[in-house]
Structures are given as C-alpha cells and as structure tokens.
Symmetry: D2
Subunit: 348 residues, 4 copies
Amino acid sequence: MIVVMKKGATQQQIDHMVQRVEQLGLKSHVIYGTERTVIAAIGEKRDEHRQSLESGAGVAEVVPILAPYKVASREVKPEPTVVRAGSLVVGNCHLGMIAGPCSVESAEQTLSIARAVKMAGATALRGGAFKPRTSPYSFQGLKEDGLKILADARAETGLAVVTEVLAATEVSLVGRYADVLQIGARNMQNYRLLEAVGKEGKPVLLKRGPSATMDELLLAAEYVLNAGNPNVMLCERGIRTFETHTRFSLTLASVPYLHDRTHLPVVVDPSHGTGHANLVPRMSAAAVAAGADGLIVEVHPDPETALSDGYQSLTFEQFEALMELCRRVAEAVGKQIAPNEARLAGTA
Amino acid sequence: MIVVMKKGATQQQIDHMVQRVEQLGLKSHVIYGTERTVIAAIGEKRDEHRQSLESGAGVAEVVPILAPYKVASREVKPEPTVVRAGSLVVGNCHLGMIAGPCSVESAEQTLSIARAVKMAGATALRGGAFKPRTSPYSFQGLKEDGLKILADARAETGLAVVTEVLAATEVSLVGRYADVLQIGARNMQNYRLLEAVGKEGKPVLLKRGPSATMDELLLAAEYVLNAGNPNVMLCERGIRTFETHTRFSLTLASVPYLHDRTHLPVVVDPSHGTGHANLVPRMSAAAVAAGADGLIVEVHPDPETALSDGYQSLTFEQFEALMELCRRVAEAVGKQIAPNEARLAGTA
Amino acid sequence: MIVVMKKGATQQQIDHMVQRVEQLGLKSHVIYGTERTVIAAIGEKRDEHRQSLESGAGVAEVVPILAPYKVASREVKPEPTVVRAGSLVVGNCHLGMIAGPCSVESAEQTLSIARAVKMAGATALRGGAFKPRTSPYSFQGLKEDGLKILADARAETGLAVVTEVLAATEVSLVGRYADVLQIGARNMQNYRLLEAVGKEGKPVLLKRGPSATMDELLLAAEYVLNAGNPNVMLCERGIRTFETHTRFSLTLASVPYLHDRTHLPVVVDPSHGTGHANLVPRMSAAAVAAGADGLIVEVHPDPETALSDGYQSLTFEQFEALMELCRRVAEAVGKQIAPNEARLAGTA
Amino acid sequence: MIVVMKKGATQQQIDHMVQRVEQLGLKSHVIYGTERTVIAAIGEKRDEHRQSLESGAGVAEVVPILAPYKVASREVKPEPTVVRAGSLVVGNCHLGMIAGPCSVESAEQTLSIARAVKMAGATALRGGAFKPRTSPYSFQGLKEDGLKILADARAETGLAVVTEVLAATEVSLVGRYADVLQIGARNMQNYRLLEAVGKEGKPVLLKRGPSATMDELLLAAEYVLNAGNPNVMLCERGIRTFETHTRFSLTLASVPYLHDRTHLPVVVDPSHGTGHANLVPRMSAAAVAAGADGLIVEVHPDPETALSDGYQSLTFEQFEALMELCRRVAEAVGKQIAPNEARLAGTA
C-alpha cells in the first residue's frame, strides 16, 4: 500500500504513520516529494490494514497495489480452469452452451425444451425450480417437484442440469438433483450460501450482482474456492445503469478483463443481460467473439405463455438460429462448440 | 396495464391480444389511435401477467399502471407507522438516533461507545456481531460473543440494540439478543432471510441494496410484512453510481418519495452513504431536513484502530457535534430528537 | 399518450384533463378501470404536451407511446442508410474501419500511421487536430496545422479523413480539410454545433454522450438530419457507470437496438469504450459480431510516447492482428471488410 | 505519481521506467516491495505524464497523488469566494436564492413571477431565453426578446438576472442583458463556451454535467478561471443513475465535498435534481442543511400550462412555503437568507 499524506502534513504526523505501519508488521519506506510525502507499506496482509491507516491524522488517501483475491488470481494459477459437469465442459477452448426455460413449469414443457436445445447443440439444461422473485406475490417455482422434472429430463437427454439454489439450508436438497449449482445475482454476496456451496463441492455458476465490481465478483468466488471447491464458473449477466432500452447493461469487456485476472471460466447470460429476445442472438455472438467460455440462454416453446421472463425467451427456431450464428463466430475465434445433432443425424 | 401495439400491427394481432387479456381474467378495452392501437387490461392481479403479454406478436410494450406493493402502500394505510423497540422510537414526529461501532470489537469498546452516544442523545446502539465482508480473509465479527456484549451494553445504558442478521438459520439466535434485526444491503433480496425475520416478529431495519429501485425496496419490505411482521423501517444508505469521491451516492430524495408512497418510516445511514467521516455531519443534517425518521451513524473512540470502517466513523466529539447540528435542524423541520443527557445533567 | 389518473381522482379532475387534452388539439378517450381511470390522447404532436399534462390535478403519470424522433426512425425509412465519404463506406453490409492516432502530433507520425493502418485494411484515417481536453493545461491539438497534416496523409494514402470539430464557428474551417466531421461525446447536445454540421453537409460521425439515452442520441442525430444533412453515423463509445476496470462501459446491445429503431449506421469505438489497449481487440471482434457497421480505433507507433490516450492505443502489429480477428468474425456474420493490402501484394 | 510495476516485472523494465520518469524531468524514487516494485515520480507537472507512463512495459498502473485543478483549489486560496452580481450574493454565510420560470414565456408571466419570488425572499430571477432542448421540435425560447423581458423585470424588481448562454458566439449578446451567465449541464465541457464566458467577465453559474465527476466539474471551472474570470459558482443539479423515481439523482454530498476542495461557492438546483415539484421543498431544505451557498428553483404561476418543465415547477404559494422552511433550516446551520418582504411590510 501507498499511504499518501496531505499537503502540509506535519513531520509528527508522518512519523506517527510510519510507526503505525510498522506496528501492523509491515516495512515502511518514506518518500519526500515536492509537495507531499508518501509512505510505502510493504509486506504480507497489507490490504486488510488499509481502512485502519486511512483514518490517520494527515493522511490524504491509501492506495492499494495488490489484488485482494488470491486463489482466483491468474498470478497464482496461470493456466485456465476447465469446469466439467456431466455433458457440460466450460473453459479454455470449450464453449459450454446452457439453455432452457426460466422456470420449470411442467414435465412436458421441460422435456420438450430439453430435447429441442439438445438437438440444436446445447450442452446443458437450465431451469429454475426455486425462483427468487422481486414480489412475494409472484410464482415462486415448483421447488422439489421442479428438481425431479429436471433430473428426469437429464435421464432422457443426457444434458447436465444447471439450477439455482437460494439458501444454505437448501444446498443439499438441490445438490441431490443438480449437476451445477447456480448462485443468482441477488445472492452474489450471500456469504452463508457461498460457504455452503463451497463445502458441497458440486460445480458452481456464480452470477455477478447487478452492481458488483470485478473485485467483488472475484472475492465472492474466493469464498467458494476458500471453502474447498475449485469448480467455479463466473457469469456476466449485465449491470444496472441509467439505460432503460435494455433490462440490464451487458458490458462484455468484463470477459477479456476477467481472463486477464483469473483462471476461472466466464459464462455470459445474454437473456438477463438484455431482457429482450430480439437482442439475444446478436449479444450471444458478441459474447463468443469477446472470448466467453459459455452462454446461458432462456428458451421456451411458447414465450407468450411463460410463467416468467417470456419477453426475453427464445423460441426453438430462434435458439437454433442463435446456435448457427455462434458456431460460425466460435470458429472464427478458435473456440469449440458442439454440433447441431439433428443436422448430423441428417434430420434437420 | 396498457398493451401498446406496434405501428402496423394487424387486426388479427390486436384481436389475439384482446383474447389473451380476457383469458387472463381481465377486462379489455381497445383504443384505435392515429398511428397505433392500445389495449387497456383492467381487473385484479394485472401486473403478474405483464411479461406474458409483452411477448405477444405485434406488441410494442406493456405499461403497468399500479404499484406492485400492497401492504406497504400509503394508499392502503395513510397514517405513518411508528416503530418502537425499547428505547428506540422511529416514525411520524419521532427521530430515532442509532449510533455505535461498525463491528463489536470488545466489551470495553462497546460499552464506552454506548455510554458516549447515550450521553450525546442517541436512542439506540448499533454494532455488528455477524459481519458480512467482501473478502473471506477479513474479520468476520465476534458472532454470539458480540451479541452478548451488545446485550450487556443495553443492560447498562438502556439503549435498544440494533444488529445485523445474515442468514435465516441465525434469526432465532440474533433475535434472542437484539431489539432490532438489521437486514444488510447485500441481503435486501435474500428472500429466505426476509421471510424468516417476517416470522420472528422483532422490528426490522431493512437496508436498501446499492442498486435497488424504490419498487424493489418496497417489495422486499412486502416480503417481511406479508410474513406477518408490521414493524419494518426502511433504510436509505446510498446507491452505486459512477461517483468515486464518495463510497456510495446518498440520494436523499428517496426520503420524501418514500413518505409519499408508503407509511413505513425511513432511516438514513450517512456513514455508508458517504464513506468519509468528514462528510457525515452535513449529510446527517441534510437527511433530517429531508424528513428522515431516523439516522444510523458509525461511532468509534479511535477510528484509526477500528477493525472495520474506521475511515467513516466519527469520534465521540464529532458525534456530539453532529447531534447538536441535527437537533437544531430537527427543530426547524418539526421533528423531536432526544436531548443531550450530559448537558441536561449539567455535566457537559 | 396515456394520462394515468391517481387512484381516487375525482370526476371533476378527469373531466378537466379530458378538456385539456382536447384543448391541445388531441382526441381523448377515457377508460374507467377497476381502481383508476386513464385517458388516451390521440393525434399529431402529442409528445410535446406531455409535461403540460403531467402537472394536472389528480394525474399520476403520463406515458408516451411513440418515438420522439421522426426522420431518424426506421418506421419512416425502413432500408438501412449507407454513408460514403471518399474511401469510407459504412452501413448495410459495408464495415468501415477507421483508425489512427488520438491526436495528430506531427506529419511524420501521422503519415506513418496512415500507411500502416491502410496496409492492414483500414478504410479511413482518424486523428484529432482540435482536441477537447478535460484540463485547460493539457495539450489542445495542433489545430489547422493538424488538419493540413491529415489532408496530406489523405493525398498520400487515399484514406478519407475523420476529425473532430468543437464549435459551430470552426465547422467551415474543419470542413475544408475533413471528409467526415466528428462530434465528440462532450458535444453530443451542443445544439448550435449540431445545427452547423447539419447545414455544412459533410458526413457526420456523432458520438454518444457518456450518459445519453438512446432517445437522446437519436434526437441529437435528428438535429443534424432536420438541418438538411442525411449522412449521419451514430457512434457507441461506452457509457459512464460504476465500473472502474474500464474507462467507460461499452454496452454493445445498443448496436442491435439501434438497428431496430433507426436506419442510420452504427460505428463502435472500442478504444474509448474500454480505455485499455489489451481489451480493444476482443471488444472490436464483439462489436462486429453484434452487427456494428464500423469501428474507430486508436493506433500509435509508440503508445508509450503518445501525447494523449497512449494507454488505449494499439501498436501497428496489434492493429494488424485486430484486423485479422475482425475479418474472420465479419465473415462469420455476413459483413464485408477490406482485405489486408500488404498480404494481397504479397509483401506481408 | 506512483508507477506500480507488475508482479514479475524485470529489472530491465524497471530501469526503463526510471529512465522515462527522469526524461520527463521528474525525480524518481524506486521502492522494492515483497512482491512488486513501485516507482515514485516527483516534481512539477507530473499528472500530464500519467498516460504516457501507464503504457510502459511491465507497468501495472500509475496512481496520481495531486489534484489536477489549480486555481479552483482550496489549497491555493483557503478562504471562500463570495460571488456578487447585483442583488445576488452567494458564498460564505450568504445564501443566494435564485427563482423563476424554466422558460421566459411572456412579459406578463415573467414580471408576475419576478414580483412573487421577490416578495417571498428570492435574491435573483432565473429564466431561459435561449433554451437547449433535447428535441429539435420543442420550443427553443424567445431568444433576444426573452432577454429584454428579463431586463425589464430587473428594472422593476431590482432582482439580478440569471440566464443561460448556449454558444460562444452568443456570449456578448446574452452578457448585455444578464447579471449571471449560466452554463447548462449539457455544455459543461463545451470548452469554447467556457473560454468565452471566462473572457467576458460576468459572474458564471456552471452546472454539473449529469455524468461529470467532481474533478471534471472543477476542471471545467478551471477553464473559466484560467481565462481570467474569478466569479464562478458551481451548481449541483443531480446525476444520471439507474434511479427512475426522480429525473436525476441529487447527490448532496458533493456540497460538503466541494467545500473541502475548492473556495468556489456551491449552488443546488432541486428542480432539475428531482424533476417532481412535490420533492423540491424537502430537497431544498436538505441542500441548505448540507451547506449549500444558494438554491436555484423553478417557479411558475400555473405549472400546468408552462411551456417547459411544468411538472417540476412550484406555484407561488409552494415557493413561499419553501422559503419559510429554508429560512428556518438556514438559521439552524448558521446561514443568512433574505427575509420575506411581504411579511416585513406587514402585507402577508
């Protein structure tokens, strides 16, 4: 850390800060500038002392110089992590394609979607059984019945199941059925939940909160990693800004930024990231071009009648077209994406 | 709701949407404009169908016209709610003053702060025993030992205890010691936790998430109210914006806005809302002038050595000056604030 | 427009609003709902009356239902506009590649960059002669000398010149040298300047302000179009959000959104949109995949010594690699991009 | 500046950066940390070299340590600036109250408003003659006729006139009639305009752009100061955020923050800052409590018929009540505000 003293800070204030830095077990190094003095604080565990130093008399600011996350850092593990969960492979050159309904509504709905997205090339099935809803009066999901439906769809199609878990107490239940435990954006800093999925061990898809910084996202991942679970996928799903023409603002620069800072794979959610079905295919292609390691897309046989998120869900035809577009872009940027099974089988 | 059809929507598309509106049990009303047609959908439970209608062919957008929250709404209960929790009274003309350390660090620290803020006129003691921290490597709080320290400080000073609870499974433990259960900004949409504090029944201080809209905040309150607990205080603590000269942007217009929409009292947190001790007194005064029903302020005998949030904590002297300033402003806007006890007793 | 009355609005208030709507020359249409009444206002020139109606007694809100821009609207001109300016062609299937230094620093610098970007496939040269700078103490550009240098580079390479104009009084001067007049983000709502470039007639590259909405951007374009100049290119260059890992947040969903609403072509600026050279290539590829009609990229032979924006400028080698990446992605999404001239000539 | 080298930067890279720092005429100071090396760059004119250093090989980031504004800085001139323009006094203990219509609509309208706000205690008249409008199809103001009306209202009431100027070429015209030249939010970084009002010499009210940082606002002021005009009032009028319940988000912490950094007075605009008349009185009181040196408020005899901004304008009665509220709060925080003239004269 660099402790920047105020212009006009007294020698006594400077000496005091040097003393405090050393009391914290750090080595100090004073630099007298033309107008100001700065004190470098060197050693282990510097960052946690930042707030303490910032309130010292005569201190203008304290500037950290190291990333606060450790295990997630690319400096610690330079090679990219590849997360595998049944049929789903995400990371390095493998582009995972997760698709399905916002909510599991019935066995028929879920199975028909699973078959359709499988045929188009999806490598995992998404679907909400426990739904976090802004209003207590909205549909809250089919709960365990929904999990069973997902497991049945996996048995039939072979697709890995990605589904959200809302509370630490529900992790073991959801873990019995799911291949990937999804942490929703609202729960990105629900630390008890992060610790619980960290201990459970199943691969985790961690969604970025709508106002979370990159450091906050990586530190949330660090909670899971620190609890012993190395299989974390980060998920960019858009941030909250002043824009109203989209539901959230999908800032794809986080993809190459995260690839620079962490070895964890990055999945993009263009459905929540835009909130409008007509913007999803182009933003999916853009995410792949930006280097995303996977996509998670909402698909529904009849978006008009969906119990949630219909306006951002794609029809089967739209999803198949999206897969075609992404397949071409993936090839252009050197990523592998699963083929259209129907076409391979000569039936499409 | 108003379903706005696209320019050029066909009569068939319009008829289809009318039919869909009526299938949803709503009454439809078609208006043919110069360029576009709109369909009004009238009846109970309209808002939950919005997404479903929005994906109809030919539909440009669906505009809701009623507040989605019910029990929290001022239309339902016009008179302001006054929340009482031991020494703390918040709402209507009563200005509750909650002060204390970010984290409970020791019995001595906590008791000395409790005495000092009580003398200056605070009506409740805040202090974190379970601390949600961005990094898993930061100090996580003294946990139950911290709760005991807070209860001891209440026994000695008579101040009600306000402290955060992080998970549904910890509600009964924290509820045994606390007078007010605080839901932190990170957990504003942790629905299992909201339901749990709703059932527990103790007064709740619900902090606004840093990117939550007013509707989202009121719907989070609705989860608690809907679970049977009417004693909810909303807390404005700043939003995340592009500004960097403050930790968050404290947008006080939410105070008069909320007073217009809901009967629930509104508390302001100028410590997190600014992140800098030197900005706290003025923003406290501004909050009182804006009509806030209470303040929650971080105080520490020696901010420089605080284990968390030192840079935004006030010393005892600064807090006493803040109370003097707020007392004068409260009088100017017709609010009651507790007197300085030391001065009353002739010792200050 | 839809005038939504408050719950409990009186019949007298409703009648008054109906009368006001009709006084404005609009046709009114009243709908009595279960809890509220809404009044539809139908006819020409509705939107300008919105504010006037919104302040009526008993009115809860007024909801507009038509786009406020006219000439820019896709409803008015469904086929995409193609802007041509010398060597630069932007729109429909033509992907314009504009590259060059942030500031024109010298004839040598500019010419060497022009040659290099031309070889790599750029179709226009960017470069600032009049520089808008946040601080009055920063380098303000070479002014007319800079314009001459750009014109010389055009004479030598054949590349069209894109350069910024800062004030209405400087439009004719800059117009003498430039092929495209750039309006910077800070001036997006400088209406005198917009009117002046509208009258001048040269093609305009209009950058989005960092907090401009889509409607504000389109209405700024409308000022230029309305003054008689149909050759407007919109430019997405990132918005200001809470994110700090990038200079601005590049929200590419504006590309497909604008393509849906307007016939004007959309150029993307990944250099300002990210602020970091290492993020530029991937975000360029993402922009192309999102459907951008052009890119504008900062290139410098030695970014370390650039007088401005060095940290976001690419070297010649980096730009050539970017062009290769974009060429592959453009092909994947059906766009035409100019070939690498050096390679064609067998010299690279 | 502090140049932070990447973990693993080579000695050669470090030596190179030291050499570059010294080539820039700065003194370098190298500190070898446990994991990283940092180089302090000391001397005059450091900040302009930041971008240049940031692109050096092996450099992780460059951290500036001094404010980029000079003449506006409180370090340069510790005592607060008081701006005087006819009847208007703003700064230190003087609270200037500027009120009037959004647009000058007619002589009768303007004079009736001027009389009413004078009686209630306003010390200056606002009113737009040249109106910047988002749409080219909206009312653009009465132009010079409007300026004459304002001057007539001043002749009758003695109130100083505050009005907006949109372009450098219009500064001398507007300056002939106005006492204070207002720079609107859209033009905060219109540098030709800033330079022109700097040379003209009349006091300037500089509004913050909706996405401007504090440094950008202060550097815009620096353009005016640097051109020779010391009479600059800063104006906080709200920023653009994700919030939709207000037109902009009025973040009042900028008031005490600016008072800490600059000697220039700070005026608050609660009308644009909230966008809703019912929120204006409370936010005016909050601004005064936060330490504002002045307010600028929109008032209209019949907001419903106003040609612009009717929904945020106060009636005469509402403005008189606002003045009463602010008078009490001003007294509580030690500011002087003009009395209600009508009451003094025994007529109210």
